[in-house]
Symmetry: C2
Subunit: 338 residues, 2 copies
């Protein structure tokens, strides 16, 4: 029996953002239709090594019939060693037979599907006339958020990049974005301005869409900076204690989760709920229910909308299945006889 | 960055039972020394497909510094389709950096380390003069139990095979064992008789060591069949509801677990405890504590001893690390640039 083995370079050759967005939307909808299962998250901190790992797993049944698991590692001391901080592997299986379909690098797929998740929130919940995007975070993930949102919301003309710790970093990152959009994502971003947010409050106030993608553990974006009608895709918070926006922003907002239980436990809403700014019962629904037309989204021009996206293995699995199919067609990747 | 990718055939070329037994013993000891962590088991039943999957994960720190996860699938309908019922993949990472070391087929490693686990229980707890082994189960795993026990307990002269459902199967299986011992394990079993247990009560009574390796969900081996001083390695029960021996055998026995929490929840002792035949507080300890000299084992010639082995990812990880090292030395397996 042969299975596909894909490295990062293979995945870069077969995955494009637009179909990844479609795949992630279909995974979210499958969950709303009861055709997907999220299994319990396993995580661990390696204290001495400043490392963290998590295992996300689940199944997408229905027309996909796949299940699998992804282990991601994030080891901070690697930076000083010249090694990648962030790495991982993913394995995907056929749910009709239990046989493996493929194994692959998980870091690139995670970046792509996480970009897609933030953008899907923006497309589904931001005002249709949105023109200005603020991305909090100037790390590697931020580029994927920008690319996916430019594809999902083609009206965007201005992209602000805010780095809460190192403004210099935001400048370097923003300057590099036009070339990255073309080279890495095939996006002609000629009509879009990429600006480092030197004045973070003013930039947030001027923005229609805010995406947060940092590992912050205390709120960076204050409620008083936020204009009515702003949409937030909160993508950074994925473990207890992480928080990027003022929990008061949740009060009165229309809030969606990628998975309600997981968001309450480890998402951006965790501390808003614990702090009494927001109530679990006030969650409008899951993003899949919105995409599937089971729950309505934004109700007014002035409403604040939030997608709390903690990350689901379902997104990786659907993306991985497409990658295996495309790699097969293009003759890419290695084959393992197991 | 390059990692090793190993298929079943590669693993068959690099793994030999004697060093696997040593590795498994060292993983058990690492656990007793507080240098290993077992993360929560994730499992799922695919009802319609008669399938089951589980994800076992954990870390072995100390001198090993590895962590990882293994997904195993067991899909019964595959038999009729001519596909393997049992399959899986394993990924292992460096716990100093979080970077992947390798990915590989998990079915062969699981067979090898499970054989080792049963045999380690026999070596550590059976009477040193043991000559007769009874294996309940004539499936694929049973051969690994026999091979490992012949290596760990070289005094064995008679091996009975009992199949609770199909005695014919036991006969075919026993007849094939001498050749399999030589061909698959490099064991010269010329001095050992392999006998299908036509009269199961008499065969159990004549045995010093009993290893159970079936998916039974009600006791097969009755207490009245058991001679004083018998050792049991109960290896088949690894999910709630599985049970192979009369729970009354636990009463008064000296009982060890591979992991106490996991055995209480899903092991052979689960139903013995629930049925009031045995108390969690009466568990003598974990097998690693015994191997590490922290707890004493058998206390008399007549005592019944039991190892309840539910399976730990630690065993797979240590075995996988050895396999990667050996495959590197021998130039086997594929290399993935991730």
């Amino acid at each position: 029996m042969e299975i596909k083995v894909l490295g990062r370079k293979d995945l870069q050759q077969v995955l494009e953002m637009a179909p990844v967005i479609e795949g992630v939307e279909s995974a979210y909808r499958a969950k709303a239709q009861g055709e997907a299962v999220v299994w319990p998250l396993v995580d661990h901190i390696f204290k001495e090594q400043e490392g963290r790992m998590d295992i996300r797993s689940g199944a997408v049944l229905g027309s996909e019939m796949i299940h699998g698991a992804k282990m991601l590692n994030s080891f901070q001391q690697n930076r000083a060693k010249g090694l990648p901080v962030f790495s991982g592997m993913l394995m995907v299986f056929d749910s009709n037979t239990g046989l493996p379909l493929g194994i692959m690098d998980a870091s690139y797929i995670t970046c792509m599907r996480t970009g897609a998740a933030g953008a899907i929130g923006a497309k589904a919940l931001a005002r249709p006339d949105s023109e200005t995007l603020f991305v909090l975070g100037a790390g590697n993930q931020a580029a994927y958020q920008v690319a996916a949102t430019l594809i999902a919301c083609p009206g965007i003309r201005t992209v602000y990049i805010g780095d809460p710790i190192a403004p210099d970093n935001a400048r370097r990152f923003a300057d590099g974005l036009p070339a990255r959009m073309t080279d890495e994502f095939g996006i002609d971003a000629g009509g879009t301005a990429f600006i480092a947010a030197e004045d973070m409050p003013a930039a947030v106030k001027a923005s229609d869409i805010v995406i947060t993608i940092t590992p912050a553990t205390s709120p960076v974006i204050k409620k008083e900076w936020v204009s009515p009608g702003t949409h937030f895709s909160c993508v950074g918070a994925d473990m207890p204690g992480k928080e990027e926006i003022d929990p008061a922003i949740f009060t009165g907002a229309r809030v969606f989760a990628d998975d309600i239980d997981q968001c309450v436990r480890v998402g951006e809403m965790e501390l808003a709920i614990k702090g009494g700014f927001f109530d679990r019962a006030a969650i409008a629904g899951e993003i899949g229910q919105l995409l599937d037309g089971r729950v309505s989204g934004r109700r007014s021009e002035d409403e604040i909308t939030i997608l709390d996206a903690t990350g689901l293995a379902l997104l990786d699995l659907v993306t991985a299945k497409r990658a295996i199919e495309l790699a097969g067609e293009k003759g890419l990747g290695a084959t393992l006889d197991i």
